[in-house]
Each structure stands twice: as structure tokens, then as C-alpha cells.
Symmetry: C2
Subunit: 332 residues, 2 copies
């Protein structure tokens, strides 16, 4: 782990805040070296993803930094889960803004520590610096998977089924809740949605089932319609998304009860993004295995419709086509 300007202060930050996050992993070399050194694992593939966040773009300026750090980790872990990989470790680059005093930096590290323990990963290296602009951070997350078993986005075939894990739309509603824009719901439901937005739940419990049974897979970050569209484009197929089968949380169902146009509102949930569920496709006989695995893990899979010939996602409700203005989502 190296550091940029203001070396002495940064060096202290590294030593005090970040070194404990390595958990003593020999690969990290105590963050004292120029690089981390990871032995190969014969028969295994290393699955690597990298995501960056910017204050005011990907999170709200008053979001507590422990939650910001945890969300950053979790969005990367969501990518690993969608690829069927077991979380291993991560590299962190963080550019502290002017508002990041020692307390804020400690909160950021505390959030990392909490989620590291929860998800079984350690810090392997990285870089800290300062910035005159907004707080910016990136995580490069690493996971292992048996060689050649990582589902891509390109394996969907006509006749497969489209499945999605958990609940869709809580990311969309959660952002509204975090912004104070969600009216007419009980306060505890609003609080739960805001928490879900700030702290998504990566679906690592489904990783093994996904790599064993999915023909194609992606995490739902841009929006279900957009992310399923990426699978269709990469696979050269089309898909039907039947909105009546969209899995919803209790809070989303309560919200939907008050909407004037429920079908249009379902479409909003299906394009809202930030759900961090897994959307995948599977041959029908494998879909059953996925569904059993999801039930066993407490994160059920719902079947949304068939993979078809053609291209693009056809959104329907009770058999009728539903127009979609934009498949994906813009961050706040």
C-alpha cells in the first residue's frame, strides 16, 4: 500500500486504520510493500471486478462514511456473486476530501472492517491520497471459482428461463426514501427502504448455485430491464419480462397499493437499478435446481419469463406489452 501527498499523515492513516484490515494475510505483506503477492490456486480462476464511487454521484454527501464504505464493498461483492465466485480479498484506493478528518476516515475503515468480517474477505493493498474534490474511492474485489465455471453474460439460449433473486425495486424506492421523497408509507417501511438503498445485500449465498446451474448471469445494478438487456445483447437472444411475476418486498407491495397506475409503477421498479440482485438464465431443468437452492438459502428465485429468439427485452403485463421509456437508471 502506498500513499500520495502528505506522506507522514497518510502513512499514519495506513498504519493505524488499514493494516488491521489485512487480518494478517501474508499476501498483503502488512501493506508495507509495493505490491501484494497472491499464490495461484491450480484448478481455480481468479474473478476480478473494479468499481468506483464519487460523493454526490453515487452516494449522498451526508451519507455516513461507514455505510459508504460498506456499500462500495457490497456492490463489488454483488458482481462476484453474479459470477459464482467465492469472495477472497480486495484492493482499495481512496481519495479523501476536505471533510474527511480522522473521525471520518476511522468511520470508513470501521465500515470496511464490519463487512469484511461478515463476508469473509480481507484488505490486500491499495493507495490513499487527498483530493480537493469530492471523496472518491474504488475497490478491486477478487474471488475464486473453479476453473471454467464462471457464467458469462453470453450463454443464454432460446428456451431458457429468466430468473431473478430476492426482490426488485427496493433500490429505486430506497433512494426516494433516503432523499425524503417517499410519502404515504409507514415510517418504519421508509426507514427499511432507505437502509436497503444504503446497504444492499450481495447474494453470495447464491454464488454456488449460479455457477452450477445458470447459463448466463449478471448482477442487477443498472436496472433489471437494462441488465437483462445486457445478457440478451451478449447472448444474441431476446427475452420476455412478465411484470406480474416481479418479486417485490412487503414495502414495495405497500407502495404499489397506493399507485394510480400499478403497471407503470411496476415498470419503474423494474428499471430503477441499485437492487444488487442476480438476474440469470437457465435451461428449464436447471431452473428447478436454482429455485431449490434459492429457497434453501432464504433468497428465492422468481421466474420472470422465457428467453426467446430475436433481440432485446420485451416487457409485458398479463400478456400485454408495456412501453419502457428507459431501461436503466441515472445515479443521484
Amino acid at each position: 500500500m502506498t500513499s500520495g501527498p502528505e506522506r507522514p499523515a497518510e502513512f499514519e492513516t495506513i498504519a493505524e486504520l488499514f493494516r488491521p484490515l489485512t487480518g494478517g494475510a501474508p499476501e498483503a505483506r502488512g501493506l508495507l510493500d509495493d505490491a501484494a503477492v497472491l499464490p495461484s490456486r491450480p484448478g481455480q480462476d481468479l474473478v476480478i471486478t473494479k468499481d468506483a464511487i464519487v460523493e454526490g454521484v453515487h452516494f449522498l454527501p451526508d451519507d455516513p462514511l461507514d455505510l459508504v464504505a460498506r456499500k462500495l464493498l457490497r456492490t463489488n461483492l454483488s458482481d462476484l456473486a453474479a459470477k459464482g465466485a467465492e469472495p477472497y480479498g480486495y484492493f482499495l484506493a481512496v481519495s479523501w476530501s476536505g471533510r474527511c478528518g480522522l473521525d471520518e476516515r476511522a468511520a470508513f475503515a470501521r465500515g470496511l472492517a464490519e463487512d469484511q468480517a461478515r463476508f469473509g474477505i480481507v484488505l490486500l493493498g491499495g493507495d490513499t491520497t487527498s483530493t480537493p474534490g469530492p471523496l472518491t474511492a474504488s475497490v478491486t474485489a477478487l474471488g475464486w471459482a473453479p476453473h471454467g465455471r464462471t457464467p458469462s453474460r453470453a450463454g443464454a439460449r432460446p428456451g431458457d428461463l429468466v430468473l431473478v433473486s430476492g426482490a426488485i425495486g427496493d433500490g429505486y424506492l430506497g433512494l426516494k426514501a433516503a432523499r425524503g421523497e417517499l410519502r404515504g408509507l409507514e415510517p418504519e417501511r421508509v426507514a427499511a427502504l432507505a437502509r436497503r438503498y444504503r446497504l444492499p445485500e450481495p447474494r453470495g449465498v447464491l454464488a454456488r448455485a449460479v455457477r452450477d446451474h445458470a447459463s448466463a448471469s449478471a448482477d442487477v445494478s443498472d436496472g433489471l430491464v437494462a441488465d437483462l438487456g445486457h445478457i440478451c445483447a451478449a447472448s444474441g437472444v431476446g427475452a420476455e419480462l412478465q411484470l406480474e411475476h416481479l418479486p417485490l418486498s412487503a414495502a414495495a407491495k405497500a407502495w404499489l397499493d397506493h399507485r394510480a397506475d400499478p403497471v407503470a409503477s411496476l415498470a419503474d421498479l423494474a428499471t430503477g437499478g441499485d437492487d444488487y440482485e442476480i438476474v440469470c438464465t437457465a435451461r428449464p431443468e436447471h431452473a428447478e435446481a436454482l429455485i431449490r437452492a434459492g429457497d434453501k438459502a432464504g433468497v428465492p428465485f422468481a421466474v420472470l419469463g422465457p428467453v426467446t429468439r430475436g433481440e432485446g427485452v420485451r416487457v409485458t403485463h398479463a400478456g400485454a406489452p408495456v412501453a419502457i421509456a428507459r431501461p436503466g437508471w441515472r445515479h443521484p
Copy 2:
């Protein structure tokens, strides 16, 4: 490779600018997947380093973005070289600032393409987003080395010799040159130093010799005295740095000729940072092999002094101690 806000525009950027940078490597999955997938190489270690840069902190706001991109790659490759690793690939996160139109983004990608070809690496994945602040980017660079053969900073022993590659001080002088603060030198020397600052030369040609013969190794980024100090601290030893043996470029020698206090000026060069040379230690019999390898590669190693008992770096000139105000360097 994923993208943040303004999905459609970002998606185009990814497709047009970055996909060619994968060189068709199957690991990158065309930047269309949630993650890259890297098969293990039995008997090899993956060496990974991550560095971030911020406009106005690590580079000047009017620096051309092709050079900024190349320097970012090169500083990471310098870490790999110091660890004796062969460059393999990298992940990129870039947050485009308001000044980054399509031309600037294309320049950034062009710089990456140029140095990828030069150093034999490909883009494996990453993330692009926008920022209301300064341009910020990070690279996670990966290299391979035979298992267990990567020198750490902790292997120096009393009786070893301290060696450094190439020339020291051109980073310090190059920054002055780039800022227009270097007076009294011929214009072509000033231009050469500014170029050296903007475009350091990672010492990959020395990687194999370093892993075969060095007992400890680091790249010179913070400043020679500081980086040698990191080796001493990690190894639990001291070292003597004899300034009369500091290897200097022709431009640095010309600059030194005009200095009122040459010894103090040598100390400035030895603490100035941004040289991206390799400082290492070796048993005397291995030092000879390093020197031969450096000569053969056209990047000679200079012997700076002995590793000693005790702690810290003792800077001397012709046997007399030289006081060092600060061992390392603050970025502009």
C-alpha cells in the same frame, strides 16, 4: 467493465475507447461482463499493485491526458518491476471531470494504448464514471512471478550492499522543469527533464535480475532516502547512503555544476521522489550479478553503501554525515 451515471454516453465510451485496449484477451470478456476471469498459473504468483492519481495533486491541470494516462500505467509498472514481476494486465477506474470531453477521453485511451503496446499488457476491466471534481483515476496492475520469488522490503541484512538503478533526481528536477522553475540550463535539457517527470521509465528490464539476486527491493517513488528507509524499517536494519555515489543524468550533473552548495543539492536529489528507479539490497556476491544484469540491460546499477546494524538511513558525503530535513517528498 461497468459504468456509473449517464449510462448511454458512458457505455459508448467503453465500447469505442476501451474495448480495443483488451487486445481481445479472453480474460476481459470484451468488457461486457461483471468481472474478468483469470485462470491460475500453477507455480506462479500474481503480483498486484494499485495506485490512484488526482488532477492538481499528482499531475498538473494542463498536462496532456495521454501523458497522464501513461504515467499512471508506468507508476504501477514500476511497482511490478521492483517486485520482479512480469507485467500482465490492468484494471482501470476513471472519473472524468468536466474538462474531459470526447477528445480528452480519446487522448487518455490513446496514451494507454501506446504504453500497453510498449510494455506488453492489456486492459482487463474496470469502471468509468463522472465527477464534479478533478479528474481522478486508479490502476490495479497485475504481473506474474515464479512462486515465492518476489523480493519483499523486509529481506535486507547487515553486510548487504544498497544499489539503485538508472539515475536519481530527474524526478525532482523534472517537476521544476515542468513548472518552469528550472533556470540556467539549456532549453533542451529542461525539456528532457520535464518529459522524464511526465513520463517515467519503469525498470521492467531489471525485473528478472531483481527477483534472482535482490534480498529486498522497492521502487523509488517517495524519494530515495524515504524508500530506502522503508526497506530499513521493514528489514530491521540501517543503511549508509553515500551521496558521492548517487548516479546522476547528464542534465542533473549540469544542474549540479551551478549549485552553490553541491552536497545539499545532492541531498535534494536523493529526497526528491518520482524517480521510479529500483532501490534494492543484495549480498555482495549477488550485487555483482545485479550490476552485470544492469549493464547488459543498459540501466546500470550503482552501489550506494552498506546495509548496517541499527536503524534508519545515514546519509553521508565523503565520509561526513549530511543532515536530511525530510526523507520524502510532497506532490505538487
